[in-house]
Symmetry: C2
Subunit: 520 residues, 2 copies
Amino acid sequence: MFKLPTLLTRVLDQVVEPVGSIQPIRRTVSRVAINHYAYSAAPRPRPLSMAADYSSWLSLNDRSYSGRHLPPADPVAHAALPAEAAVTALFRREREIPSSDTSVLFMFFAQWFTDSFLRTSREDFRKNTSNHEIDLCQIYGLTEAKTCLLRSLQGGRLKSQIIDGEEYPAFLFKPRQPGAPMVFKDEFVGLHDEDFITQVILGDAPDERKDSVFAVGLEHGNSTIGNTILNIVFLREHNRVAGVLQLEHPDWDDERLFQTTRNILIVLLLKLVVEEYIKHIAPFDFPVEMVPFIADGERWNRSNWIAIEFNLLYRWHSLVPDFLGNGSDRLDPGNFRNNNPLVMSLGVEALIRQCSQQRAGKIGLCNTPTFLTDRWHPDLPSVQERSISLMRNARLRSYNDYREAFNLKRLTRFDQLTSDTKLCERLQAIYKDIDQLEWYVGIFAEDYGEFQMMGELMTTMVAYDAFTQALTNPLLARHVFNEATFTKTGLELIEATDCFQQILARNSGSPSAAYASFSC
Amino acid sequence: MFKLPTLLTRVLDQVVEPVGSIQPIRRTVSRVAINHYAYSAAPRPRPLSMAADYSSWLSLNDRSYSGRHLPPADPVAHAALPAEAAVTALFRREREIPSSDTSVLFMFFAQWFTDSFLRTSREDFRKNTSNHEIDLCQIYGLTEAKTCLLRSLQGGRLKSQIIDGEEYPAFLFKPRQPGAPMVFKDEFVGLHDEDFITQVILGDAPDERKDSVFAVGLEHGNSTIGNTILNIVFLREHNRVAGVLQLEHPDWDDERLFQTTRNILIVLLLKLVVEEYIKHIAPFDFPVEMVPFIADGERWNRSNWIAIEFNLLYRWHSLVPDFLGNGSDRLDPGNFRNNNPLVMSLGVEALIRQCSQQRAGKIGLCNTPTFLTDRWHPDLPSVQERSISLMRNARLRSYNDYREAFNLKRLTRFDQLTSDTKLCERLQAIYKDIDQLEWYVGIFAEDYGEFQMMGELMTTMVAYDAFTQALTNPLLARHVFNEATFTKTGLELIEATDCFQQILARNSGSPSAAYASFSC
């Protein structure tokens, strides 16, 4: 792998971010980098999807089938791959390896963000329930009908409640006697699959956690404290912005206030994705800019279609630390999950500060927490096992085939993949030939420097995917991104926002105390 | 309006088509012309749709609302427009004005083609039930589930029947006693809204016509003899091509044979649309080429979205002649409609020959047959009245505003629109000011030469719409348009086909006798 001398790395680490902040440099480098990655693979439409192994009208048009970048692997070669258990074992964490500078907040943001468009169907692994857009469905729901259930229908606002002086989403379930069945409030019937939430997601969570589930856009919206805090902050920002617009446009009805606020909020999220999230992923945290109208004349500006590869690629389980915090307040993973009472008792700001100050795990093999690799029940596959099965069912081609598809040289030896000799030997023993190495294993096996947060192929694919599906958002199009769509105030807010901390501070009782960071 | 001297017109009329057939000239001129028109208006995404008068996530994403090119007109100015009855009267035919060289076959093709994607919702004028693609839903149906009902599920074929040695689609209804209720065959339940077909479309048609309705892709698929003959010919071509592929690929299952045949058939239709239909619309019948991959690097290559303007623009009712044929075989419009027995008795080829040899009406005002302008029942608006109402409900902007949006100079006087002084006076009397002239009236009022088939703005809009929504078809994309998608045989067939007559001849018992033409 490409290595920089240590001294050069340290120097670049100090200068890239400040030099990149000089506007003309920032824009030029951003433009070049965005196009470099956006053209690293063939533009959509892709000939194939998971609908069939050949091109059909369905595979070219029906986005309920997940896309795929490369044709499926040859079934015979595919059948000769190592046992799934051996592959799962490659991911298993023995001892937590920390990332160089990635915070737990980044991890929670990544989960919250990617789960909004990576939505594998529960009935058919070939299909998805994604809108294929960054549409902030986390707080708005997946359909217009669900959005209506979440709206207060007054002043363009979302339904919310005040608890101890703080704004939260409304509760999803009817108040009940302890132990009584959980039932959606009438106003939320149809928002989600009730059985799935009560039986699968909440499962055996303690009663107080079940009773404080919020009504938000997605089924998993309360399933980690990260999802909860991000939904809360974006809901607060929505209602704050709606209030500002209402003062400026007293003649606007609820509908117009809501829709215009939503336009603004979606673009705020896009700004964070490019200028904070991708920036953190970029080497030396170069401050990538969401260059205005960059997609306008580009061949990569084609309808979004989430591909199966990205559904797998983003499963960055190794970011998950063993514990959050230290000492007596230390939280284990069981307390990250389905725990709105914790969020309400500690407070959103305190939790975000804590998550911003603790490092996430390092992305790579041998670093997925055991609660994700090991079975909780002998008959039920673990989270990691399910990922491996999905990869196998999708018959994905090899790591080297994907390198080639993304315009990178094929590797000829395992030691070009990683300098970790022990891992090299393990991979060699399992796969024999580098050309047999599975893509999903390879992208996590890639070595990378301290100034990066993932290897070469994964960086390329993440950047390709993010740029070609975020910057094609219709709200960013030339005849849409303007005052008519956002109002003057909305445009100014968009211009002025480039990190989550600003959104947090705008909705905080003590703005100067708000602290949020993807780096630590 | 722009006028050519008569002599020049005659010379061009003789030379444009042969000179245009020289391949390098053809390709260069086609490329320039396609881009000229495709860039005549702002590219999609459009900020507005019929969902709202301002941009919202819905208006940018939900294609069940029809698109719109320009924001709605000011409600106050709009309310001061002339009475709808006065506008309808402008369209009414006193005496049929024939087109210069357009055949009745062109008229039937235009109806069959455009009705496949211009599908106004029956419940809400703002909405549509279109797939927004040229997908040959006329024979395949609008959804995958409906396609399945139409397939024989053997050899990649569509269900068909042989009557007197000729192939036709299957009948839709169960055989019945005379006067008994009409019921879909079990195999077609769910294909269409049964009540709508039996009560609204078939209405008071004679029994033998009702009993011979074919099971095809769209509700209106049997409602004119033109729809019927085109569906029959494309069904025959589908089954013929599937048979060829089956011989070449004995290992392929029904699914692959069907899907690959469909890929080929859709592109055959695209070829006819560009190289025969648009060619006929183009001045002097310049032989426009479907230039390979022309959309690849263009800013107009964006997701299709049918706009309300095109839904109105394509209502070329003035093409409809008063009668088809002469003498004792003369057919009046009542016999064009819901008349499959006629098609079966005369035969598809004889009818197509007849339709190819008779001129359609001339596109323009004062030339819509009275059965479309006048009411059949005092309480039910006529077809033309419904078009005027739709235009008004959509609050479309003026003719001049659309000229500007499509990069043409605004007119300042009615006599720039038409040299017909009587019509000029009528328009002046009704609208007073050329800036008040309604778009839908203006595009039909435009003068044009013998070498054209419609006026300047309508030509521009038709060309913009056709090129930017046909050439963006995913089957034409760079990584899709290849042997893998169509087979070598399929690609050769596509290359070799540029007119409907070829398709007709391929499916005829006496190919040399088959005759079909859009010009006469």
